[in-house]
Amino acid sequence: MEQLLYTAEVVVNGLMAGVMYSLVALGFVLIFKASGVFNYAQGVLALFAALTLVGIQQGQVPFAHLINAITGSHLEHFGWTVPSLLAILLTAGVMILLALAIEKLVLQHLVGQAPIILFMATIGLAYFLEGLGDIMWGANVKSLDVGIPQGISETAEAWTAQLTGYGFFIDRLDIWATVIAALLVAALVAFSQYTKQGRAMRAVADDPQAALSVGISLRFIWIMVWSIAGFVALVAGIMWGTKSGVQFSLSLIALKALPVLMLGGFTSIPGAIVGGLIIGVGEKLFEYSIGPMVGGATENWFAYVLALLFLVFRPQGLFGEKIIERV
């Protein structure tokens, strides 16, 4: 009985961890769905967004070190702090500006190029943004607090203890992440199904040439998609940054999203969620049951094994569209 309860606790926590992976995977899906580009920079976008949010919140002077080095001044902070909600809105604005700049300076010049060229461009973008974030906000670890609580949910612990005799560990941050992810997915689905811009985005995704021929602006769609992906990155950055501080390793959470994408498919929003849940539960259960026999630390590689297993039977992923190219 005890083992069963422990397993149930691992499953619940695996589902929660899966939601955190899905938050990152969603950004990849949005851009791939609309433009066929695998955005290597998505993890760095999350980092950049979180750095910007903390910087705005704490009233940090951007590029302070650079300005100080050139002018000999000692600038650090403006001397004010910005409320969390306003800081989030301002950061979302920065992400829209970033999307505009990416479209203007990079994507516009690569229209009609092969996907691999666009993919290579996003690799360059990732390293550029990493450096830009460093120069703008510094490399130190920053605490992020937007009011989302962390730590064990005592309500869930008491409730499960009453029900089963064993109090489950459920992190309040994970509960919040689940609610936020659900709202985000609902909003994204509603946007793509029921708004003019959303339908235009789907039209471009289905057939770019046909979409262009009916007057849809590819430029507008790309800016819009990169802006939305930037916002999703901001949400992922907030959740992961709250968990362990905002720092450069935050960009590596993209590694956690890759197996989710392989499993759920690169073009499906529900796929990103379901894929995340399967990966989360799968890796946690494997670590719990098999990990101790093989020395532990199995999660990083097992997530990919799980994704590969699914790929063997369904190459386009669980929810991905099968690509048929006729010659």
Binding site: M16, A69, F169, G245, F248, S249, K256, G296
Partner: protein, 428 residues
């Protein structure tokens, strides 16, 4: 950024003209980018600032300026080796790569090239045995010393008896994190505690499984051997499961401000080992302020001065500086080569009085090295985090590790290396 420009300029000058023969060249393999940058940057700043102070205040050591051309490794072993190869020209005296992975690669190379490798508090533990590792020094303490002192502290906490207790080792699943396992197993046999090994794959942002396991198995103590984001995630998860923070002890690489600050009040009471003082309450910092910070010559404007990892960078530079000074005295000349620096290290004797003269009384333990002993006494002390005050406080004196357990392990491991590398032990 000031530092980076300065370092680039220094490197460019070096590459273009080469150092003057009289300069003391200490290539600085640092990491200011990548996932480990928050700690790497602070250490690099402290390392640079100490030598800048010597150059500005004293005109260098023995009248010779110290050059520290910086090379970015990003804590990546391949890049670290590239940096070594690119900078090992004749004038380079010593390397302090700040990475156990890079150290393992450089040990045979440094021996072949006759360069000193100095790895304070990291690297290959058995390099303490100078009979086998002629060119490597790891004073004042190593990973095994750290594990032993952590257990010693637990013994003190438990009234001298940890028999039947369970101790979890949460470790970075790398060469570094695995170093203390054997020591803790041996100490477990001696003192009767059960060791629970909990590896975390780097970088380690996600540790839910590991901490659920700890919550289920309820160890009495947790020892943390982490680095980078793994530390912040581990301390946060420990707070999440309400693990008593004063029963969680990190190695010195899990004991910086950036490790505990993201967890906020949850990190209050967390302990870590250290072999250097923290804060700026030492006379040394008056000189640093006058000659380096106020003169606008501090690395990155001196923003990390006094932090735990910055202080460790200062301490590493201080020990190298003292070894250079000793080497100059032995050679009877301010111009020395790497072989003479090795001799200087082997004759190194930093007393409490000398530390006071340097403006850092009680900052570090006395260090006396020899041909046989490249690791010093291996003492460490504990610091505890005060989340309200946002600072570390030293809570114990320096404690000696358990030589009875460690000495045979060092002998065994270094003998295995000597056999593998075909080294004939030296020192008569």
């Amino acid at each position: 950024m000031t530092l980076r420009f300065a370092s680039l300029a220094a490197a460019a000058v070096l590459m273009a003209a080469g150092p003057a023969m009289a300069d003391l060249v200490v290539p600085h393999l640092s990491y200011r980018t990548g996932p480990y940058a928050p700690n790497g940057t602070q250490y690099a700043d402290g390392f640079n600032d100490y030598f800048t102070l010597l150059n500005e205040r004293d005109g260098g050591i023995g009248g010779q300026k110290i050059l520290t051309p910086e090379c970015e490794t990003a804590y990546n072993t391949e890049k670290g080796v590239e940096c070594y190869e690119a900078t090992k020209g004749d004038a380079a005296l010593i390397y302090n790569p700040m990475s156990t992975g890079i150290t393992y690669q450089l040990i045979p190379k440094a021996g072949a090239d006759q360069k000193v490798l100095y790895t304070p508090g990291y690297g290959r533990t058995s390099a303490k045995n100078g009979k086998v590792f002629e060119w490597v020094f790891n004073a004042p303490a190593n990973y095994w010393d750290g594990a032993s002192v952590a257990v010693k502290h637990m013994l003190e906490q438990e009234g001298g008896d940890v028999n039947g207790k369970k101790i979890a080792l949460v470790y970075h699943n790398s060469a570094y994190g695995k170093e203390p396992i054997r020591t803790l197993q041996e100490l477990g046999e001696k003192h009767g505690f059960e060791l629970m090994e909990v590896p975390v794959d780097p970088p380690g942002q996600e540790q839910k499984s590991q901490w659920l396991q700890i919550r289920r198995e309820k160890p009495d103590y947790v020892i943390l051997y982490g680095w980078g984001v793994m530390n912040q995630a581990a301390i946060q998860e420990a707070a999440n499961i309400r693990f008593p923070m004063d029963h969680m002890i990190g190695i010195w690489w899990s004991g910086s401000e950036v490790d505990v600050q993201p967890a906020g009040a949850g990190a209050d009471g967390y302990k870590s080992l250290t072999f250097n003082g923290v804060g700026t309450d030492y006379p040394f910092y008056d000189d640093l302020k006058t000659h380096v910070i106020d003169a606008g010559k501090a690395s990155q404007g001196g923003q990390y001065v006094g932090s735990a990892v910055y202080s460790r960078g200062v301490y590493a530079a201080l020990i190298i500086g003292e070894a250079i000074r000793t080497a100059q005295e032995l050679a009877g000349s301010p111009e020395i080569d790497a072989a003479q620096l090795r001799d200087g290290f082997e004759a190194l004797n930093i007393t409490e009085e000398r530390m006071a003269e340097l403006g850092l009384p009680d900052f570090g333990q006395p260090i006396q090295l020899s041909c046989e002993n490249h690791g010093g006494a291996g003492m460490a002390r504990l610091q505890q985090w005060d989340a309200d005050e946002q600072k570390w406080s030293l809570i114990t004196d320096f404690m000696e590790p358990d030589a009875e357990v460690l000495a045979p392990l060092i002998e065994e491991d270094s003998a295995a290396y000597a056999q593998e590398a075909g080294i004939t032990p030296r020192c008569g």
